[in-house]
């Protein structure tokens, strides 16, 4: 349609490499993937209330469309591999073009399909979950906008549009996290998410500026081209540019030390958490590094040391916190942080495919786990596992699907997490990152442990809450089953040595990805990984499965020093609050306001007093002695003007004006005479 209006400059397939197809009509019309949800979002907000299902039908329709289109592209991409991009110019400043566009290649297609499929499941589920909740229609409007913004980000062929989608996601998350804004706690969480991301975005914006200004274009194609062809100007700024971009990525992907917003984001309705932790938002940072991968592989390789360090720190430290949480959603939240750490570490190690593969499988099982958690919360009216227990008897479907998700997350063969996590471990080993490998293995143990703990506390033992919990309605359980199926089998998309489909799919890009980890299956490492996972499950089960244990001491890890440190999340919230927020918001702001009132305005008011005094002398002099004709005229003129103003009771304005004009006349005279 837009093409028919002649808005698009036809540049299709400009960057397409020879071996890849341009995707044909399917890719040409892929902009619909972005536009449909955005239009739907506004339609829901403005017209949703009049509709039969209060706008939900539009939301799920839009996401369903994205899902179908995404899957169609996904399948098409399995053939030749697609690389296509097109754009329209929305402004031009000198040599810089500002463009909207869309890119259809292996990387973006993976995300289209993920957002669409997981999104559809979550939206169907949300119909049941949000039933009767306040601001139902607006919720679905914002939720659809959330997905739409993510698609703006993912579809972007240039860095500027990426920023637009990036902050659009931030805005949507603010609206959704703060959905129940009657409680200050919730709006605080929303602000925290927005602000933490905004701080990291300083990095993103600077990174984009460095790249754009140096290369002379914001297009990924041009930047990556410059990177792989060894452009010397880019080489010079590669480290700082790459680092700045990565700082932006750390914010969205909640990497240490920008992770603090994500656990608080639990304040939003559970479907939001599910989508946010699976396909949307937190994947954006990993996606950005993936999009820029040829750059990080080549010129930006120095930054990768930092990337891998950040990833490893995050995966380990956040996993530990997940071990001591009582809120089931917080267990999952810290688990997400930890898993994002895996993806980041893999990117840092140069394992593009492994990172994207883990992102892919994680989207299914983490989306699933959050929906399960929502189902549990819906049943017991509490987030806390201390109010659950024994739920397997009441909620069989939720229990079974949760179990599949947990085992996938713990990396148990043959569920999806096993394959993707193993691939990360294999890549770390392949790249000689021994320290990272050991920590990642320890992280795998921790993962299995906290998931077993959560499973035991909520599904086994006696029910400790009030009333009789019941299984959720089918509108909620069906998405669970669907996601569970995907979480179970998604791993087979890439089995090194046997079937490397995913590797081919995700690497069909204009600028080829150099990294190749298609080496044969590392049975030794896979075995160790599996053993570690099983050990984690065993340890968790040993500590938390016994009835008396579940009933009495919930936390068996109350180790001195370590336990309080973990419970307080390494005190980072306190450090930020007392070390950053309050000094700026309270102290510095108050100081600035004080200088404004007392220093700057003090000078101003003081000058006014002095002028008034001088004007008095001038007035007195001219009134009584008639000294100077010039002053006489100026003063009289100003006096006249002042009289006109006099009913405003200001009284003194004419005197100030007189003094000023006298001064100016003298200055002008002096200036003319002396120059």
């Amino acid at each position: 349609m837009l093409a028919a209006l002649g808005l698009f400059a036809a540049e299709e397939g400009e960057h397409a490499a020879l071996t890849l197809s341009d995707g044909g009509v399917l890719a040409e019309w892929a902009w619909l993937i972005v536009v449909v949800p955005l239009v739907a979002a506004f339609a829901i907000i403005f017209f949703g209330k009049q509709m039969k299902n209060k706008g939900w039908e539009l939301a799920v329709g839009a996401l369903g469309f994205v899902g179908l289109y995404g899957v169609a592209l996904f399948i098409a991409n399995m053939g030749d591999g697609i690389s296509f991009s097109d754009q329209i110019e929305i402004a031009r400043i000198g040599d810089f073009a500002i463009e909207w566009g869309w890119v259809v290649d292996g990387l973006s297609i993976t995300l289209y399909a993920l957002v669409g499929v997981v999104g559809t499941a979550v939206f169907i589920y949300a119909k049941g979950y949000m039933e009767g909740e306040i601001r139902y229609t607006f919720f679905f409007g914002a939720f659809t906008f959330f997905a739409g913004s993510m698609l703006v980000l993912v579809s972007s062929p240039n860095l500027l549009q990426l920023i637009v989608g990036w902050e659009g996601v931030g805005l949507a998350s603010y609206l959704l996290i703060g959905h129940y804004w009657e409680e200050k706690e919730n709006s605080d969480a929303a602000i925290k998410a927005f602000m933490t991301n905004k701080i990291a975005d300083v990095g993103l914006v600077i990174g984009v500026i460095i790249m754009g200004a140096t290369v002379g274009s914001f297009r990924f194609g041009d930047v990556l081209e410059a990177a792989v062809t060894g452009d010397s100007a880019l080489e010079e700024v590669a480290f700082w540019g790459g680092l700045a971009l990565f700082i932006g990525a750390m914010g969205k992907s909640a990497q240490f030390p920008f992770h603090v917003w994500l656990p608080d984001a639990m304040a939003g309705p559970t479907p939001v958490s599910s989508l946010m932790h699976a396909a949307t938002m937190v994947t954006a940072g990993v996606y950005l590094v993936g999009r820029m991968f040829p750059f990080y592989e080549d010129m930006g390789s120095d930054v990768r040391t930092i990337i891998i360090a950040v990833g490893v720190i995050t995966l380990f430290s956040m996993g530990l916190i997940a071990m001591v949480q009582d809120d089931v959603k917080k267990v999952l939240a810290y688990s997400t942080l930890s898993q994002l750490g895996y993806m980041t570490a893999a990117m840092g190690a140069g394992a593009y495919t492994a990172a994207m593969f883990h992102l892919f499988t994680h989207a299914f099982f983490k989306g699933l786990l959050f929906l399960c958690a929502g189902s549990m919360i819906h049943a017991v009216h509490s987030n806390n596992m201390s109010d659950m227990g024994g739920l397997r008897r009441f909620m069989p479907t939720t229990y079974k699907t949760w179990l599949i998700g947990s085992l996938a997350l713990a990396g148990i063969v043959p569920l999806s997490g096993f394959f993707s996590k193993d691939e990360i471990l294999a890549s770390l080993s392949h790249e000689g990152q021994t320290v990272a490998l050991v920590i990642a293995l320890a992280g795998a143990f921790i993962t299995a442990f906290y998931m077993t703990r959560a499973t035991a506390l909520s599904f086994f033992g006696e029910f400790k809450g009030h009333g009789e919990p019941h299984e959720s309605p089918s509108v909620m359980t069906r998405p669970l089953v669907g996601l569970a199926a995907l979480a179970a089998v998604a791993g087979f998309a890439n089995v090194p040595g046997l079937f490397t489909g995913f590797t081919d799919w995700v690497t069909s890009r204009a600028i080829p990805i150099v990294e190749h980890h298609a080496e044969s299956f590392n049975f030794g490492l896979a075995g160790i990984g599996l053993a570690v996972g099983i050990a984690g499950i065993a340890a968790g089960w040993a500590l938390y499965s016994r009835d008396e244990a579940t009933q009495t001491a919930r936390d068996r890890l109350e180790v001195p020093v370590l336990y309080p440190v973990l419970r307080n999340k390494y005190y980072m919230d306190d450090i930020y609050h007392h070390g950053l927020v309050r000094p700026i918001r309270d102290t510095a702001a108050a100081f600035v306001n004080w200088t404004n009132t007392y220093i700057i305005d003090g000078v101003v008011n003081g000058a006014a007093l002095v002028s008034k005094f001088l004007a008095g002398i001038v007035y007195g002099g001219f009134d009584q002695h008639g000294i100077d004709f010039g002053i006489n005229v100026a003063g009289a003129a100003a006096g006249e003007a002042g009289t006109a103003l006099s009913y405003s009771q200001s009284g003194k304005v004419q005197q100030y004006a007189a003094a000023l004009f006298v001064g100016v006349v003298l200055l002008v005279a002096g200036f003319i005479i002396f120059t």
């Binding site: 905004k198 975005d201 103003l645 009771q649």
Partner: protein, 523 residues
């Protein structure tokens, strides 16, 4: 349409409101409706004329002054009635007629105390002439006349219709009414600045050969190096004072929070949306082309002051308890970005400044409308007493949230481009300017955007979110009425349109700015 292109068109844009002002004056005070209709008619006519000007404007040649005329005016000082628009001034002319019309629509049903719509309309129309005239003037004396013309109406607006709450000045014994203090402060500050500006104009006149006040002729002489050395330095300084007060740049900004806060709603809107731009426009139109060498010398200082304004203004916002004053202070930071863009002396930076000016005009204009309507309903601007507005007035709250997001520079909305591109320009300023300084400015400016987001979100939380305070229990609030909607919807659309399709502004500015930069700085 030949006549339109020969200066008549722009003359209509500029002087129709003034004619309207005289017409309204002739209407008896008691006949309010006719006064309102007349005022509306002339504001609309001026806006329509400016739209026709867009249609007649040749976008293929934005660097040339079009729709121009050059008539002898005051021959004794060879000052001409020389007007015209290029790609830089066109968006600002349209902005001024657009905002004036919306202000007129809003006013239809919202008259500040002590009422008297007739006089208020007269003042608005005089202001409109002054504002549009400043943007089309190509003669320094003409520019000065228009520049000063806005001063008195605004002085009266604040002084008569302003906030009557008594305030106490630190160090003074007596209490004064806020409106009086604010009005005098505004008047004297601006007068102080423009006195120096006039001094600079006169100095340029006497140095030019042949003596002229014509901006284009002076620009050529400036390029030829006629105004260099210490003469140029001081003249730039004098102009700087005049423009910087108006922008306002730190530390000459303190009139702004007082004036904006005390002014009646429409006064704040016009002040923020258009009058602040007179200053930044003066830099672009007069200081840079006529004194290019001096601009290079002053640029680092301007950049430093701009960055201070960004941080200082944002921090000051965080300390405010009065919603309107917070919005007022936000202008200091936002105009800091505009000035940072100008200081880079680059194509990108000056384009950023112009779109930043337009965006700030529509966004902050709307914020002041909202603040005005809210305080009209709640009879307070104290954020501690507000809260839960989203519950009491959902539409108003929604528009406020939208506008606050635009103000914090959300990409996809109008405010983003000016901010981002000012930072972008700072990365590679004009050759010869200190890279270290400007890149530091870029980083600090970027940090400023975080603070901006901080105070805007905090404001939203305190005003919009949470449960309404107990004092409003059982009270019915009238959500957005139709005049408000009619005045605000175009602004909302403009914010969205410029954000999604910035070419709306850049199509005009790009060529003109490029030409300006190339001829002045050879860049």
């Amino acid at each position: 349409m030949e006549w339109f292109d020969n200066g008549w068109g722009l003359s209509l844009v500029v002087f129709l409101p003034l004619v309207g002002a005289f017409a309204v004056m002739a209407i008896p005070k008691t006949n309010e409706l006719v006064a309102k209709q007349t005022g509306m008619f002339f504001a609309a006519a001026s806006f329509v004329a400016s739209v026709v000007a867009i249609l007649r404007f040749d976008f293929g040649n934005t660097a040339r002054f079009q729709l121009d005329t050059d008539l002898t005016w005051i021959s004794s000082i060879s000052s001409n009635f020389h007007i015209g628009v290029d790609g830089i001034s066109l968006p600002l002319v349209v902005l001024s007629t657009f905002i004036t019309l919306l202000a007129m629509i809003y006013s239809w049903d919202h008259w500040p105390e002590p009422h008297n719509p007739k006089m208020f309309i007269v003042l608005m129309l005089v202001l409109a002439t002054g504002m549009a005239g400043t943007f089309v003037a190509l003669d320094l004396i003409l520019f000065f006349v228009f520049f000063e013309l806005v001063l008195l109406p605004m002085y009266f607006m604040i002084g008569i219709w302003g906030d009557r709450t008594p305030m106490k000045l630190p160090g003074f014994k007596r209490e004064v009414e806020t409106r009086l203090y604010a009005a005098i402060k505004f008047f004297l500050f601006t007068l102080f600045g423009s006195a120096f500006m006039l001094l600079g104009f006169i100095a340029l006149f006497f140095r030019s050969a042949p003596h002229t006040f014509d901006m284009l002729a002076l620009s050529e002489m400036g390029r030829a190096g006629l105004f260099t050395g210490s003469f140029g330095f001081w003249v730039f300084g004098a102009l700087f004072l005049g423009f910087a007060v108006k922008v306002p740049m730190w530390p000459l900004h303190t009139w702004l929070p007082d004036a904006h806060t005390a002014a009646p709603t429409v006064g704040s809107v016009l002040l923020a949306a258009i009058m602040l731009k007179l200053g930044s426009y003066g830099f672009i139109r007069i200081s840079l082309p006529i004194l290019p060498q001096e601009a290079r010398e002053w640029a680092p200082a301007i950049a430093i002051l701009a960055v201070i304004a960004i941080i200082y203004g944002s921090l000051a916002c965080l300390a405010q308890t009065d919603m309107k004053r917070l919005i007022a202070f936000s202008s200091v930071g936002h105009m800091g970005f505009v000035m940072l863009g100008i200081a880079t002396l680059t194509d990108v930076g000056i384009n950023a400044a112009v779109i930043g000016m337009v965006a700030h005009g529509v966004i902050t204009g709307l914020l002041f409308f909202l603040a005005g309507s809210m305080s009209h309903r709640y009879h307070t601007r104290e954020m501690a007493r507000l809260g839960g507005n989203q519950k009491l007035m959902p539409v108003m709250g929604g528009i406020l949230a939208f506008t606050a997001m635009a103000s914090l520079g959300l990409p996809g909305l109008a405010g983003f481009w000016g901010e981002f591109m000012a930072l972008f320009g700072s990365f590679n300023p004009l050759d010869g300017l200190s890279l270290g300084l400007f890149r530091s400015a870029m980083v600090i400016g970027a940090i400023g955007t975080v603070l901006t987001a901080g105070y805007m979100l905090w404001m939203l939380q305190r005003v919009n979110l949470g449960e309404p305070k107990a004092e409003w229990a059982g009270r019915e609030f009238h959500d957005v009425d139709r005049f408000e909607m009619a005045a605000w919807a175009p602004l909302v659309l403009a914010i969205l349109a410029i954000g999604v399709f910035p070419k709306i502004v850049f199509a005009a500015t790009d060529g003109a700015v490029e030409q300006l930069v190339r001829s002045a700085f050879g860049g």
